[in-house]
């Protein structure tokens, strides 16, 4: 147990259950599917005249998706107040955040789902393509993270 969960497991399980409750609450109240990556495309519809960004499904959902994302920020803020923890900043290098973030944004939008879109909403909808997407990104993520260490990456 200690070997697999050196930091305990209670906060992981509680966090996961709360995330599930959040996605479930959104669905019961509004019928909306609460994946997170689409907001990164739908928000561009405010600025870009490209046909892709002017799709009805992006222009029609951009407002609630922005509210959803604003909620995420508030949730992080609320957690900080609740836990009374000091602000903590990641030590992952800026170029990893930039290069990794770019690939995350590109890939999630091409795949039409991310860890929450395919991982939570897709699996909970019993979608086989989402299961395959999750297995695919887990495989490439594990390979990348491990290779990075082998090639001397710091974090």
């Amino acid at each position: 147990m200690q070997q697999f969960f050196p930091n305990g497991f209670g906060h992981y399980l509680a966090g996961g259950l709360i995330i599930g409750a959040a996605v479930g609450l959104l669905f019961v109240m509004t019928g909306l599917i609460g994946g997170m990556s689409t907001v990164f495309s739908s928000t561009w519809s405010f600025f870009s005249k490209q046909p892709f960004f002017q799709q009805e499904c992006l222009t029609g959902s951009r407002c609630w998706r922005l509210a959803y994302a604003a909620g995420l920020v508030l949730g992080g803020l609320a957690w900080m107040g609740w836990s009374a923890s000091a602000p903590w900043q990641t030590g992952v290098t800026w170029w990893q955040l930039a290069a990794g973030g770019f690939l995350v944004g590109f890939g999630a939008r091409m795949s039409n789902g991310c860890t929450s879109g395919h991982g939570i909403c897709g699996l909970a909808s019993l979608q086989l393509p989402s299961l395959l997407a999750v297995l695919t990104f887990l495989a490439t993520a594990i390979a990348t993270a491990q290779l990075f260490v082998w090639f001397g990456g710091a974090s």
Binding site: G76, P87, L132
Partner: protein, 175 residues
């Protein structure tokens, strides 16, 4: 769009962000540690979230005619094609390199994890590049988006981003 929809999106998002923060997934180091098998706690985050969502997604449409404040039950539109799997592979490489994915990157900003702003901006850039240069062919010209049947033949023509059609959510047309 109805104010109630926006309000519930905000409330659900806040709960989501709180859960992400509590699970420590807003720390890229924790994600990388999971991907290197040093701490597999993230399986509990995903597992817990999926079980709760699965129950709600399966039960709610059977118990209620429609959402309490919405007009129709949405569906997750995943398609079995090269874009879904190829995109997932690219997403994974970025996730494994940075330890960052969309939800935690945004929630982390609220918890004062400022360097994640770099990741959020980069995700926006990646999403823009995908939509601008690698959109499904049917969406590169406005007129073709309305052609029915095109998406049946070419896997790259699938327009699968549509969770809810405007007909299902007429009030969303005004923005």
């Amino acid at each position: 769009m109805k104010p109630a929809i926006l309000a519930w999106a905000l409330i659900s998002g806040a709960l989501f962000g709180f859960g992400l923060s509590l699970s420590t997934m807003i720390r890229p180091e924790v994600v990388l540690s999971f991907l290197r098998f040093n701490d597999i706690g993230l399986l509990l985050v995903l597992g817990g979230a999926v079980v709760v969502t699965l129950i709600v997604y399966q039960l709610a449409p059977r118990l209620l005619a429609k959402p309490l404040f919405g007009s129709a039950w949405g569906k997750h539109p995943s398609e079995m094609n090269a874009r879904t799997l190829g995109g997932a592979a690219i997403f994974g490489i970025g996730w494994g390199l940075s330890g960052v994915c969309p939800g935690p990157a945004i929630a982390g900003l609220g918890a004062g994890n400022w360097p994640l702003l770099v990741a959020v901006l980069a995700i926006f850039a990646g999403a823009w590049a995908q939509g601008r240069f690698f959109a499904p062919k049917a969406l590169t010209v406005v007129e073709t988006t309305a052609q029915p049947g095109r998406s049946e033949t070419d896997p790259f023509d699938n327009i699968s981003t549509q969770a809810l059609t405007p007909a299902e959510y007429p009030e969303e047309e005004a923005h």
